[in-house]
């Protein structure tokens, strides 16, 4: 598996070549579509005009600037629109880790050092861990600018992509009622309720995807009873590839990736 992005992380004049790998994955079992005869189907694009199927090289990306009128924008143009300095993750600001409101967080990526840059990587990870700081930067990746916060996490650096300030609504935007002064007794009642149900720590391991588990259980049961089971020749098509992200990360960290 290729990294999601390869580039340079910089702070001051120190640059650390890194590869980005997802730190989140989907837990939802993906379902395939079959024909009524049990043949796996493919999704295809077709032209409205000719009603014929289109190949990938017959497709372009367009922005609708007027109803039904499009400007075509190529990958190359999107790439060239990003000035060189915006292609690095340049940490321009360090803030206390817990001062960033979680409403900003979108998605996580691990930064894995390229071989030869481990020393500078470890230096940054250790410095940030000791000070409790997260580093902030914006950079352009795959035709989009990202605001990221970089955290030091058990010896690794992890980037969280964040929503820009104009991508978040405020209570005023939403027309929520003005804040009200409430009786102290009322607040105390809730404080008691909270304290009686408080745990020392968040335990994420308990947060299972019960719906996915129920689906897999049902699938197993049906497979055993041989009800609704279809088999097709596999030579005809590539079987759905399952990527073990943890294995990919372990391999990259051992420096044996490629």
């Amino acid at each position: 598996m290729r990294p999601f992005w390869s580039g340079t992380l910089t702070f001051g004049l120190v640059s650390v070549p890194v590869n980005l790998f997802p730190a989140n994955k989907s837990s939802r079992p993906s379902l395939r579509m079959l024909s009524d005869e049990g043949a796996p189907l493919e999704r295809r694009y077709y032209s409205q005009k000719t009603e014929k199927d289109l190949d990938a090289d017959e497709l372009v990306r367009g922005y609708e600037f007027k109803k039904g009128k499009y400007v075509v924008v190529t990958d190359e143009e999107l790439e060239r629109l990003a000035p060189e300095k915006t292609r690095d993750i340049d940490l321009t600001r360090f803030v206390k880790e817990d001062s960033i409101p979680p409403v900003h967080f979108e998605r996580g990526y691990f930064l894995i050092p390229e071989s030869g840059s481990e020393k500078a990587y470890k230096l940054l990870a250790e410095t940030m861990a000791k000070s409790g700081f997260a580093g902030l930067a914006t950079f352009v990746m795959r035709g989009k600018e990202y605001l990221v916060a970089i955290f030091s996490d058990h010896g690794l650096l992890r980037a969280e992509t964040m929503r820009f300030v104009d991508e978040l609504r405020s209570p005023a935007d939403l027309g929520l009622p003005k804040k009200k002064k409430v009786p102290a007794a009322s607040v105390r009642k809730f404080e008691k309720l909270i304290s009686s149900r408080s745990k020392k720590e968040f335990s994420g391991a308990k947060l299972q995807d019960e719906q996915a588990e129920a689906l897999l259980k049902l699938v197993k049961k049906k497979e055993k009873k041989r009800s609704n089971v279809v088999e097709v020749e596999t030579e005809e098509r590539e079987p759905a590839k399952v990527i073990d992200l943890v294995a990919v990360l372990k391999k990259s960290l051992s420096g044996k990736a490629k």
Binding site: L34, D36, Q48, T86, R87, E126, F133, F202, G204, V246
Partner: protein
């Protein structure tokens, strides 16, 4: 622009219930592109085809299946899928409260604001109590046939509900090996600490804006008017120097900047 509530429910903590409305806290600003057919510059349509014959298969004929091993499928009927749907409910049940710092950032997915729906006193009292207790509630609810897990927190006096990922969706740094290589020296650590300290500040989201989105939109506008702006090719380069000297140089230049400011 006043927002419209997307859902109504009831926060439930033990026997206490607070009616709330739920609003998306996210305003999508992504530049939206469409996939076009390059000959006619019209939007394309999608359909499902049988790869052998190339024939279109209509929705009525499509069956959903789970691939248990390559080439072996278990079909899930509409009744099967319906049986997996959670029971509809209006309750957002908060089961426990935890210190916010114990929730790693990777868990947070999407934020929603809760607004009061008839009982403003309890709504604002809970927000204040969460802030004073320095706790976030862990909540579960079912919205539009989907089960959710979320963190209930107070932000600027209002209640925010951020959906959380489940355990299978989060890869923990703890289960990964550490990068090889020698540990940094005390001197390097000291210089790096100074460097980080000089860039230290308060978190201010307004400090960062999506300039690239603006460039893309300007480019599209010019192109729509028939001008095809020339864009320069950009090359990326990489340099290597010793960590020590680079750290020292960075500190020097930052100090100069600070003096000049």
């Amino acid at each position: 622009m006043a927002g419209r509530a997307i859902w109504k429910g009831e926060l439930k903590i033990g026997a206490t219930k607070i009616p709330v409305k739920l609003y998306s806290a996210v305003a999508d600003r992504t530049v939206r592109f469409h996939i076009l057919d390059d000959k006619h510059l019209m939007r394309v349509k999608q359909h499902m085809v049988s790869p052998d014959s190339g024939d279109e298969v209509t929705n009525q004929e499509i069956q959903k299946a789970y691939e248990v091993e390559p080439g072996k499928f278990v079909i899930l009927t509409d009744e099967d899928l319906q049986s997996l749907e959670p029971k509809p409910s209006r309750e957002i049940e908060v089961t426990e409260f935890v210190p916010p710092e114990s929730i790693n950032q990777q868990w947070y997915e999407r934020p929603y604001y809760l607004g009061p729906d008839g009982n403003e006193q309890d709504y604002f009292a809970l927000a204040e109590a969460l802030e004073k207790s320095e706790r976030e509630g862990i909540a579960r609810w079912v919205m539009r046939n989907k089960p959710y897990i979320g963190a209930l927190r107070s932000q600027d006096g209002y209640l925010v509900l951020c959906t959380l990922r489940n355990a299978a969706e989060v890869i923990s740094a703890r289960e990964l090996p550490k990068p090889a290589g020698r540990a940094p020296s005390a001197k390097e650590l000291n210089m790096a600490k100074q460097l980080v300290g000089m860039l230290e500040g308060e978190f201010n989201a307004a400090e960062f804006e999506d300039k690239y989105r603006k460039r893309v939109m300007e480019f599209i506008e010019r192109k729509a008017k028939g001008h095809a702006p020339k864009l320069r090719v950009v090359k990326t380069k990489r340099k290597t120097t010793s960590l020590d000297s680079v750290l020292a140089k960075s500190l020097e230049s930052l100090k100069k900047e600070k003096r000049a400011a």
